[in-house]
Symmetry: C2
Amino acid sequence: MSDLEIARAAAIRPIEDIADAAGIPREALEPYGRFKAKIDPRLLPDGGTPGKVVLVSAMSPTPAGEGKSTCTVGLADSLARAGQRVMIALREPSLGPVLGMKGGATGGGYSQVLPMDEINLHFTGDFHAITSANNALAALIDNHIHQGNELGIDPRRITLKRVLDVNDRALREVVIGLGGPAQGTPRQDGFDITVASEIMAVFCLARDLDDLKERLGDITFGYTYDRTPLTVRELQVEGALALLLRDAIKPNLVQTIAGTPALVHGGPFANIAHGCNSVIATRTARRLADIVVTEAGFGADLGAEKFLDIKARAAGLAPDAVVIVATIRALKMHGGVAKADLAAPALDALRDGTANLLRHVRNIEKFGITPVVAINRFRTDSQEELYWLLGWCAAEGIEAAVADVWGQGGGGPGGDDLAAKVLAALDRPVSFSPLYSLDLPIEDKIRTIVQEIYGADGVDFSVRALRRLKEIDANGWSGLPVCMAKTQYSFSDDPSLLGAPKGFTVHVRDLIPKTGAGFIVALTGSVMTMPGLPPEPAALRMDVDSDGNAVGLF
Amino acid sequence: MSDLEIARAAAIRPIEDIADAAGIPREALEPYGRFKAKIDPRLLPDGGTPGKVVLVSAMSPTPAGEGKSTCTVGLADSLARAGQRVMIALREPSLGPVLGMKGGATGGGYSQVLPMDEINLHFTGDFHAITSANNALAALIDNHIHQGNELGIDPRRITLKRVLDVNDRALREVVIGLGGPAQGTPRQDGFDITVASEIMAVFCLARDLDDLKERLGDITFGYTYDRTPLTVRELQVEGALALLLRDAIKPNLVQTIAGTPALVHGGPFANIAHGCNSVIATRTARRLADIVVTEAGFGADLGAEKFLDIKARAAGLAPDAVVIVATIRALKMHGGVAKADLAAPALDALRDGTANLLRHVRNIEKFGITPVVAINRFRTDSQEELYWLLGWCAAEGIEAAVADVWGQGGGGPGGDDLAAKVLAALDRPVSFSPLYSLDLPIEDKIRTIVQEIYGADGVDFSVRALRRLKEIDANGWSGLPVCMAKTQYSFSDDPSLLGAPKGFTVHVRDLIPKTGAGFIVALTGSVMTMPGLPPEPAALRMDVDSDGNAVGLF
C-alpha cells in the first residue's frame, strides 16, 4: 500500500477529540475542516514546567531516503505508547516539491500525520499567507519607486525577491517593469520558492504576534543609492504584513495514525534559512506536553547545528535529547554502494559509511548533548547488517536502537526500544551550550562551524564575501548568528564527497544579511532557492475522484 | 463608525447556529474557524423546488459608489424580516484591491457579511488555491518546453499568464527564463491578478468537481508553431489542477449582521470574465432557501448581461427578478455634477442622469424581466430629490423603492419597501430569454450586445480582431457566448461618456478564446488585468493589535 492508501485507511478521529485529550480548551481551538485546527496560544491555560524537547536529526541524507519525519512520528507514538504525555512539532510541507517529485513531509508507512493529503496540499493556508505577505511587500517596494521613490531605493540593490510555492525554474531570473512608464521601473529580479522567503524564517522564529511585527519591520529589503540599508519599517508596512499573517501564526493541530497530537507549523528552507518548525509551535507544544518531539531539516551538520545555534538560542529552546536517524542503506551509500545495488548485503561498505554517522554523533556531543542513534529499519536490511551496526555503535559507546516504525507504526512495538533509549537520555543531565559565542566576528563564527562541525581545514572567502563582511560590520550586524547554506549531501561544499571527508576547504561565495530573521546567511557552493520540475512531474499522476478523494498523490 | 468598527461591534453567531437555521446538516459543514464554514453540496439533503433567484445589478458605476453589495445584503435581510427563507450568494473579495484602495466587497454600514475582516483577507483560501493551480499550470507548461517540448508549444504563443492576488503593476510585462539553459527558455510573459485567471472563471461556472475537471482540461493555454490550439488535457494535468481545487470548490457559508445566511464563493473579474459568484454557490443556495439574492459585477450592461447570457444559460439559473441599484449621487454624476459637489441638491442634473438608469431598465426588459429599481439612500440625499426620483420612476412605469439599508441595516425597516416590491415582482410571471442565440456568428453576437444593450450605432473590429474571428471559426469555437470587456463607467468604450450616450461605435481590439470557461472575451478599449497600487496604498494604514484585531482595514 502507498502512504496515501495507508493514510486513507487509517481511523482518523475528530480534531476536537485530539484537542480534548491534549488538554486544549475548546475556546483555544479553531477548526479547519474536521481534522485540522488552529490553536490560539493566548487562550491556553498557564502551563507548569515546560515539556522536554527531543530533537530528531539525521546523518547526511542520500537519495536512498532516511525517513527522519517517519522516525519523528514513530518515536512520538512510541513514547505515547510508553505512557508519556507527548506532542510532535513538525514543519509544514511545501506544495512546490509535492507537485514535482518529493514525497510528502508527513512521515511514511504507519508513522504519518493525518490527514496527509490535506497537509500536503494547502493545509490551513499558512504558506499562502506568507506568499501573500511577501509579494505584497514586493509590490509596495516597486510602487514606492514608481510613485516618486522618496526613500531613494536603488532598484539595482533590492534584495527582497518575490516568491511562489511552485517549482518554477523559469522564474529564477526575470526582468520586471517592462512596457513603459505606466508599468513601473524595469529591473532585474527573480522569484524564490515560498519556503526561502525571509518572511517564512521570521514567521518561524517569532515568539508571538508583536515579535512577528517587530521582526517584519527589521527585514532589510534593499539599499539606497549610497548603500544605506532600508528596512520594512521605513516603508511603514510591517503592520499590514503582520495583519496578513495574524491567523497563519497560530499553530496547526493534527494527529498521527496512532492518535498522537502534532503541531505542524511553518517550514523554512534548511539551506537559505534554519529549517525548523515555528518557535510558536514548539513553545505551545511544551506548554501542553511533557515531551515534545521535533525535527530539523537535512543532516545534523545543517539542521541540528542551526537548531542549536539559532533557534535554541533565539527562543530558549535547548533540547534535552537529540536523536540521529541513520539507515543501513544510507550508510552503505556513504560507503560507496550505488543506489541500485542497495538491496544486497555489503558489510564493508556499511563499515566505511559509519564514518559519516560517527562525525555527526561527535558533533552533537560538542554541544554538551549525548545523542541517541535511531536505526530506521528498511525491509531490505539483513539481520547481519543490523547486528553488525548495533555492535559497532556499542563499541563506539553510542546509544542506538533499531526502529521499525514505518512498517509497524508507532502504535506497535517497533519503536519501543528507541523510546526507552530516549527516555533514558532525557533522565541524564545535559549541559547545553551553543557552538560559538555571538561576540565572535562573523568570519570566525563561520570558521568555527566549518572546522568543528564539517571537519574542514579552513574556509575561503570570495572577494564578494570579503566585501560583504565589511558591510555587515559597518551596518552593525556582526552580533548575529550565522546560517550556513551548504549542500546537504556532504560535510563539505562538494555534494560528491560522501562519508566523512578530510583535507578540504569550504568556499563562502556570498553573505546575505537576514536582519528580520536575525542571522547572516553564508552561501557555499551553489544553493538553489527556486527548484525546477523534473521531466515527469508528479502532477501528471495526480487526480481527484468524483467524491473528492485524492488519487496518485504519492 | 467605520465599516470595520460596525462589523466588530456586531453580535456574530457561531457558524453552526447559522447552518442549523438554514437546514444544513452537520455532516455537510466543514468549519473554518468559528464563523466561516465550507459546505459540501454532495452531503445536502435532496431539496424540493429550487429557490427563486433575485439578481441585483446597478446603473453604470461612478466614483461616488452605488452600494450594490450593501443593497444585496440589505435586501436579503429585509426579505428574511418579511418571513422569507432567504440566502445570499456573493462574490469573494480580491486581496489585491483591499491592500490598494478599494473598500471591502462585503457590503457596508449595517448591511455587511461577517466576519468582514476575515472575508476581506484570506477567507477560506479559495483564491490562494486558484493562484496555486494557475501557477502550477504555468510552471508545467514552461517545464514541458524545457524538457524537450514534445507537444511543440510555441513559446511566443502561450496565452496562459501567471497570476498573483496582489496589485503589482511591475509584473504586467516581464521576461522570464533568463540566466542560461538551466533556467528554461526565455520568453515574454506577464502576470494578471488572480481574479482574471481563466481558472477563476472555470471555477465559477463549474457545476461540480467532475465538470470542473472537464473545464480545466478544456482550457486553451497556447498554440503550437503551426497555430494548433493546445489544451490542458493534452498536458495531462487537469487531474492535478482539480485536486488543488477540490476543497476550494465547496461554497463558503457566512452570515450578515442580521444573521441571514450567505454563501460567499468565487470572484471572477467583471471585465475579462463574467463577474458572478460560483454556479455551485448559487445552486446550493437554491437548494436551501426559497429566495436567493445574488449580484453581478459592475453595471447592468456588463454584469447583468453576462449573468443572463453566460451564467444563466450555462447553469440553468435564469433570475426570477432583477433589481437595479441607483443612487441620487450617481444619477447626479451621470447628469454632469463633479464628485466634490454631490452633497448639494441638483434636480436638473438628477433629471439628466436618469437617462443612464432608464437605458439599464429597458435593457433588462429585453430579456423578458421587468426590473425593480432600488434607490440606495445616502445621508446627503434631500427629500426633494428622493421624491422627484420616485415620481420620475412612476411616470416611466418603473417599479422603485428607496432603501435605507446602510444606515438602518437589513434588520430594521429601511429595506421593507424594497423587499415588498421584490416579492411582488417574484409573483409576476417571467418569460426569460437570452439576448442572442448561440448559433449566431461571434461578430453578430457582439453586434447584438453593442447595439441592443450599449445603444451603439455599430461595432468596429481591429485588424487583429478580424484575424481572431477567422481563427475562432477555424477552431470550432463560434458557438460560444461572448464575454464583453469594456469600461464599466460608460455604455460606450469611452469611460468619459456618461449618461446614455448615442451615436458612438464600439471598437473591438482583440478576441480571447476562453475555452475552459466557455466564452470568447471581446476586448474593447484598454482593459486592466493587473491593477497597480495608488500613491498612498491602504496597506500603510493597516495594522493588527496584540490581540489579533485588525486595525485600519477600511
